[in-house]
């Protein structure tokens, strides 16, 4: 090792970015080189001083108790409350659904105490019960509100509230979304109740037939049946009621679920299916799994064809600051790579997709897709943001902030300035992509005012997926 390399490694040691092997080589070099050894000693002395100083400054343990007590005296964080008069515009709807999702998420069974408490608070219940927990996405669906007699036809975009019974009334499966993080396919003739307990928005009760769910990772979702329940934390799986009242089948396409039946539980992983009845489980072979997923695959095929007609036209001006209508490219990519985001777009019924930047966002990072949904205004965005978002998960927040208008201002500026720097690295990394955009934070920082512009209808997405067409293009 040369001294020059050794000095770099010493810097790496201070900054915490070299691994054990590199450190070993460094130390071996320092045994032979007095100058480097001195530099290493100085660096280690610095690290030691810093570490000791921080270690010495530890707070008294009582402080934690004091803070816990202070928090105990606070009211629980307020749930999201809907101001229908002004929030229930098309634009704000999606943001509200997401906020509701955050407010109502319940994680898992060990949180049961708090659930019980929540359910016992009539004031909260009133808010919870009236809040939408889901949306009709597509297909012939009929809804029977809790307490009502008959089913009524529900068009795409209709909101679902706790206790609604939803039935796929046509000959084909239909789809709903729960808080935009779970998509549930309901097979033809099947019936579910969404969020039977208002405090648990991510539950459905399967009343008849079969369902299949695509669940965003980390989202606690359960399918309840008369004979047990299936719990997932981010996976794709199906549940089918069988002839016996308490008998049901579970098939997992991706991830793992836990199946509870008659006091026993069983884990079922991707590519497996089991039959559950009265606490007994019987595993089916690969053939059973394939058979149980058959209708889902067919449904996806049909869906692809159907949505391929509609997505992503519309030319628009997506300026760096998020004005103007959105465009197709993003949507195509969204759907190709991240089905859920595409559905979010459809949920809102915006009619137009989003700019190139968002396409990249969604393609690369699931979470930014939520940003797109949150904004809920159909406004396009410039390439600058796309780059930002492509590179970093956190910028999704920036997008949301901007989209909601009131949240913008200074905070966004900071975000954009900071992220803009990273965007500058783009040309080397992905020149082709870079060439398509403009605007966004980077543009702003350079004083260009976010002049990115999007154009729809170039047809790229459609070729790729059949679900979205057009592409964002722009100039700086």
């Amino acid at each position: 090792m040369k001294c020059e390399s050794a000095r770099e490694l010493i810097e790496g040691l201070v900054d915490g970015r070299i691994d054990a092997e590199a450190e070993k080589s460094l130390r071996a070099h320092c045994e032979r080189c007095a100058e480097c050894a001195a530099a290493l000693a100085a660096a280690e002395s610095f690290v030691g001083t810093m570490t000791a100083s921080f270690g010495d400054a530890r707070p008294a343990p009582e402080l934690r108790q004091k803070i816990v007590a202070a928090i105990g005296a606070e009211r629980a964080p307020r749930r999201f409350r809907f101001e229908r008069s002004h929030l229930w515009t098309a634009g704000a709807a999606a943001a509200a659904v997401i906020a509701a999702a955050l407010a109502f998420i319940i994680s898992s069974a060990d949180n049961m105490d708090s659930r019980v408490k929540t359910a016992g608070d009539p004031q909260k219940d009133a808010v919870v019960a009236s809040a939408p927990v889901g949306t009709v996405l597509a297909g012939e669906l009929e809804v029977r509100p809790s307490g009502a007699q008959g089913f009524v036809r529900a068009a795409a975009g209709r909101e679902l509230v706790s206790g609604d019974t939803v039935r796929a009334g046509g000959d084909l499966p239909a789809e709903i979304s729960l808080s935009e993080v779970i998509t549930v396919f309901i097979d033809a003739g099947s019936e579910i109740v969404v969020a039977p307990d208002p405090a648990l928005p991510y539950d459905v009760r399967l009343e008849r037939g079969q369902v299949f769910a695509e669940v965003t990772k980390g989202t606690p979702f359960r399918v309840l049946t008369a004979g047990g329940e299936v719990q997932s934390l981010g996976t794709r799986f199906g549940v089918q009621l069988l002839s016996g009242v308490a008998e049901f089948a579970v098939v997992v396409e991706e991830g793992v679920v836990r199946v509870d039946s008659g006091g026993s539980s069983e884990r079922v992983s991707a590519g497996e299916s089991v039959l559950a009845a009265g606490g007994r489980f019987r595993r089916e072979g690969a053939e059973g799994c394939g058979r149980r997923l058959g209708w889902v695959k067919q449904h996806r095929e049909r869906r692809r064809g159907r949505f391929g007609q509609g997505g992503g036209h519309g030319a628009g001006q997506s300026r760096g600051r998020g004005e103007g209508a959105g465009h197709g490219k993003g949507k195509g990519e969204v759907n190709r790579e991240r089905g859920r985001e595409g559905e979010g777009v459809r949920d809102r019924g915006e009619g137009s997709g989003h700019g190139k930047g968002q396409g990249e966002v969604n393609r690369e990072r699931g979470r930014e897709g939520e940003g797109v949904r949150d904004r809920g205004e159909g406004a396009g965005r410039g390439k600058g943001q796309g780059e930002v978002n492509r590179e970093r998960a956190g910028e999704g927040e920036g997008v949301r902030d901007r989209g909601q208008g009131a949240g913008g201002g200074k905070g966004q500026g900071e975000v954009n300035r900071e992220r803009g720097r990273e965007g500058e690295n783009g040309p080397e990394a992905e020149p082709e992509v870079k060439g398509n955009g403009g605007g966004g934070g980077e543009g702003r920082e350079r004083g260009n005012g976010g002049q990115g512009r999007g154009q729809g209808g170039n047809g790229r997405g459609g070729v790729q997926t059949g679900r979205g067409r057009g592409r964002g293009a722009g100039r700086r």
Binding site: R7, G16, A43, M50, S53, S114, E391, G394
Partner: protein
């Protein structure tokens, strides 16, 4: 106990689980305190400010849009609280009490002096340098871990940390590798 993510705890807290927030608090309170005492706050002020920041975060939890970003969000709240507290006219500057606790008379001078110097040096850093420095030297996180914790690119974190360390070494009298070493 299995690892529950911050985001999950946020969701539970929002669903009414106060104990979930207490778990979050347990993860962050010491780190926030470290940040506070390295932000020109006395120990007493730092305690108040950390409590204030966490109570504020609890009150505003429902405004957090992305639970995955809880940490960064909390740091922002905390930094603002600390800055406001440090700017308040009242009590004496925090570094003054660095010498206060526990050392015997013999060690006191040296180690308290060293602590004071480190606190002053860290406090003089911009906010976006101070946070990675705290995570590095208090939590012993690597560059990658800090990046992942803050949801920032490794390159950005490394640049900040490297610059911060260069400033600190200069201020504290530790020479860079081309020098011959030194101390406070």
């Amino acid at each position: 106990m299995p690892d529950i993510s911050d985001a999950d705890l946020v969701r539970r807290a929002l669903a009414g689980g106060r104990s979930a927030f207490e778990e979050l608090l347990g993860r962050y309170w010491e780190r926030l305190y470290m940040l506070a005492v390295h932000s020109r706050l006395s120990s007493a002020d730092a305690e108040d400010a950390v409590q204030e920041a966490l109570v504020q975060a609890y009150r505003r939890l429902s405004t957090l849009r992305d639970p995955e970003r809880f940490g960064s969000w909390l740091y922002k709240i905390a930094m603002r609280t600390f800055a406001a507290k440090a700017a308040a006219p009242a009590p004496a500057p925090g570094v003054a009490d660095a010498a206060a606790p526990g050392d015997g008379p013999a060690e006191e001078t040296e180690s308290a002096e060293s602590r004071r110097a480190v606190r002053e040096a860290v406090a003089s850093l911009p906010d976006h340098y101070r946070l990675p420095v705290t995570l590095r030297f208090f939590d012993g996180m690597s560059c990658d871990e800090i990046a992942s914790h803050l949801g920032e690119p490794v390159g950005t974190v490394w640049t900040r940390l490297h610059r911060a360390n260069a400033i600190l070494r200069g201020k504290l009298g530790f020479l860079s590798p081309d020098g011959s070493g030194g101390g406070i």
